[in-house]
């Protein structure tokens, strides 16, 4: 089953004070099946993040369709969905992880993960146990659970970021260079997490500058050449 399909998708940024329009991507054609793990590679500025952020609607798409097969809302064009529909999908079905952590100040690590579950309507108890499980899985030192993340290291922030997105068991998870700036050990943790999510049936799209690291996990890899997506690999990705 196709879960996401971009038809003639395009996005340009208009910067008014410079009187300038930056065409980021144009006429993108792309689809993915439920349960697949798709990798996107390509040089900086080729439009990789623009595509993911447009699916999440952090960027406002300006041409084409982004058809998403929602569990609860049915077939929906994310390029046209209302803000309320997007908020619903973000709470319940679609997750986004980047290397940056944007959270409420003075909220502890544990609370942040719990809140992600509470906003989906989980009970306090479930939220508490699942949050602890997630923090344990990502090897977050229990000494950090009740402290504020503004003092965390880059790797700790990222693991918290991923924990917040994955506890919700999203149907579709968008990963924007989640492993950038991580040490080898943390990267392995991310890989394990992706493996587990894939087993649970989550559809994943990830941008990785070191795609080799995802060896054996990606079903397809697309390369953003000349701001278009072209299939670079299919099946198991081999090193070299």
């Amino acid at each position: 089953m196709t879960i996401v399909e971009l038809n003639g998708f395009g996005k340009a940024f208009t910067i008014h004070h410079l009187n300038k329009t930056i065409p980021a991507v144009n006429n993108i054609q792309f689809s993915m099946d439920a349960g697949e793990f798709i990798g996107i590679i390509g040089k900086s500025g080729s439009g990789k993040s623009t595509i993911l952020k447009s699916i999440y609607r952090t960027y406002l798409p300006d041409a084409g369709e982004i058809i998403y097969q929602s569990k609860q809302l049915g077939r929906i064009d994310l390029a046209q969905a209302t803000e309320r529909e997007m908020i619903f999908l973000r709470k319940n079905e679609i997750g986004y992880v980047s290397q940056f952590l944007n959270v409420m100040p003075r909220t502890t690590c544990r609370e942040l993960v719990q809140n992600a579950l509470l906003e989906m309507g989980e009970t306090r108890e479930t939220a508490r146990t699942e949050a602890e499980n997630a923090l344990t899985h990502f090897e977050m030192d229990p000494a950090l659970w009740d402290s504020y993340p503004n003092t965390f290291s880059g790797g700790e922030k990222l693991r918290l970021n991923i924990a917040m997105a994955t506890v919700k068991k999203p149907r579709l998870l968008l990963l924007d260079e989640p492993t950038a700036s991580l040490d080898q050990h943390s990267k392995i943790k991310v890989r394990e997490m992706i493996e587990k999510l894939k087993q649970q049936g989550t559809t994943l799209v990830g941008i990785f500058h070191d795609i080799e690291f995802m060896e054996g996990l990606c079903d397809k890899v697309f390369d953003m050449k000349t701001n278009q997506m072209s299939l670079a690999f299919e099946g198991v990705l081999h090193e070299g």
Binding site: F13, H17, R57, Y59, L60, E83, R84, I87, M104, P105
Partner: protein, 279 residues
């Protein structure tokens, strides 16, 4: 998912002055921002519309003078609007433009449906009443008569906003700005309002106090599912609190969208200036 808005605001308008043919048109060359250079009218709010959904926080951002407080004061019936309509989705009010209700009915809405936290604590608190007295007054207005209940609830509320109970008999005039805002929040929550208006609640507070007020608001939303309109000129505050926001300029809504979209992909020239100036 497809619930009805709890509050619908339609074409709200407020002008100070009579207006003249030169300022009817929003694009008129005689307008300097919101001020008509011909007749001297200030168009503080021009055609503002939005919906507020149950349990959501809607952010309203805009520069000083863009009409944010004037709009909230109109919604809360502190001042009359020049034109426009406001609908509240509560059975006894269905289909009625609440702006045109009697003053008695408006008082009912203020006592039972709305809560307000003013930009300036002087507008929201009786500075010479005790803190607990301020809360009790609001609860009495909302029909509570049982003194021990009122006291119990007031104490709970003060504890929730982290005002030490040993200070509850003190007058807010002796409190810091952050404490005054927290007493205002406790007061506004005392009648369990389904709709809460917050005007620049964190402005002028130092950063750690700001963070605790933001945290408190977020907690209220999560636990009590109160719908809120949060006004701030500070985009960071809006980013923390609101999933959806609108941007006002010269009394008009110039942009609305998901808050992260407004911040990362602003569409309007003015919003771009506002956002880029932060980066």
């Amino acid at each position: 998912m497809y619930e009805k808005p709890i509050l619908q605001v339609k074409h709200l308008q407020k002008q100070f002055g009579e207006g003249c043919p030169h300022c009817f048109d929003k694009e008129s060359v005689y307008l300097e921002k919101n001020y008509c250079t011909v007749c001297g009218t200030v168009h503080a709010v021009r055609d503002v519309s939005f919906d507020l959904y149950p349990g959501e926080v809607l952010g309203i951002v805009g520069e000083s003078g863009s009409g944010k407080s004037t709009m909230l004061q109109g919604l809360y019936f502190d001042s009359s609007m020049t034109s426009g309509a406001v609908y509240i989705n509560q059975s006894e009010l269905t289909g009625q433009n609440v702006l045109s209700l009697s003053s008695q009915q408006k008082r009912y809405i203020r006592n039972y449906i709305y809560g307000m936290v003013y930009q300036n604590p002087v507008d929201g608190l009786k500075m010479k009443f005790s803190s607990i007295g301020n809360i009790a007054e609001k609860m009495i207005a909302a029909g509570n008569r049982n003194v021990s209940n009122i006291e119990k609830r007031s104490k709970e509320l003060l504890e929730n906003v982290h005002i030490p109970l040993r200070r509850m008999k003190e007058e807010p005039q002796y409190f810091s700005g952050g404490m005054q805002q927290r007493v205002q929040i406790a007061k506004a929550l005392s009648n369990n309002p389904p709709i809460l208006f917050l005007d620049e609640v964190t402005t002028g507070l130092d950063l750690s106090v700001q963070a605790s007020v933001l945290d408190l608001i977020k907690q209220i939303q999560r636990e009590l599912h109160i719908s809120m309109v949060v006004v701030s000129h500070d985009l960071a505050v809006i980013r923390m609190l609101a999933d959806r926001s609108i941007v006002m300029l010269n009394g008009e809504v110039i942009e609305n969208g998901l808050t992260d979209q407004i911040l990362e992909d602003p569409q309007h020239e003015y919003t771009q200036q506002l956002v880029y100036s932060l980066l």
